[in-house]
Symmetry: C2
Subunit: 115 residues, 2 copies
DNA sequence: CTCTAAGATCGAGCATCATCGATGGGACGG
DNA sequence: CCGTCCCATCGATGATGCTCGATCTTAGAG
């Protein structure tokens, strides 16, 4: 994968290309792609993590363990899932990884849900 | 629980009461509730099921097994999960159960995601 | 009442996931 | 070079979830 300063999601299938869920029956491929992004959000810890990053603008991984009440490997696990879904983008600066949200991706999800 | 013509979701925690995910850090309770609704949508079969019901307005359970390619118990399993999440409402008419979507609930989810 | 059909529930099998301890790999300070 | 710190990855474990065959309940037909 990325060698440096490239913690952006790898999978990140397209979601906002086609009509919404309520317009026309979803194809299997579209349904699978949208389900993956929704699965990334369908976890209380990841929702709070995402919400924390969104509120603070930019957050270091080390500042997430405390508020989330989870171990360091677990936090790393969740940030990776959100990044793979394209919802989070991380940048390595020195020893720290700084995370920020990807608003466009969240907007795509809302639109796929019938916005 | 309901005795007749009451296939409406039982759990259906509130979602759209408070601010969105991107406004302020989510509390544990809000995160858990929102995660449950998102988990109900985070499955390809359920997304296609929901999409089918939305497109046709009202659908009988027996008309879902074919398009979804799943057995009758599996379809019943998925409709129950969507109904418990408050996204689907079912009405028993004779031997058939007719399903329709709950647009307000979907709207709540979109708003919780930062609409 | 009997027979059939629709749908909900049960139980089991198999896969996926959340979590954490241990380990590895860079980056910085002395 | 050495020790420290941050973070990613690995391996194991317990919990959840998807799926389907079998069964039960209910409603209509004859």
């Amino acid at each position: 994968m990325g060698t440096r300063a490239d913690r952006t999601g790898a999978a990140a299938t397209t979601v906002g290309c086609c009509g919404s869920v309520v317009e026309a029956p979803l194809g299997e491929a579209d349904a699978t792609g949208l389900a993956q992004v929704l699965a990334a959000l369908a976890d209380p810890v990841r929702l709070r993590l995402f919400s924390l990053v969104a509120a603070r603008g930019e957050v270091c991984s080390c500042d997430l363990e405390g508020p989330l009440g989870r171990s360091q490997p677990t936090v790393s696990h969740h940030t990776k899932i959100l990044a793979d879904a394209g919802l989070l983008a991380g940048e390595r600066r020195g020893r720290w990884t700084w995370w920020r949200i990807v608003p466009e991706r969240l907007h795509d999800v809302r639109r796929a849900l019938g916005g």
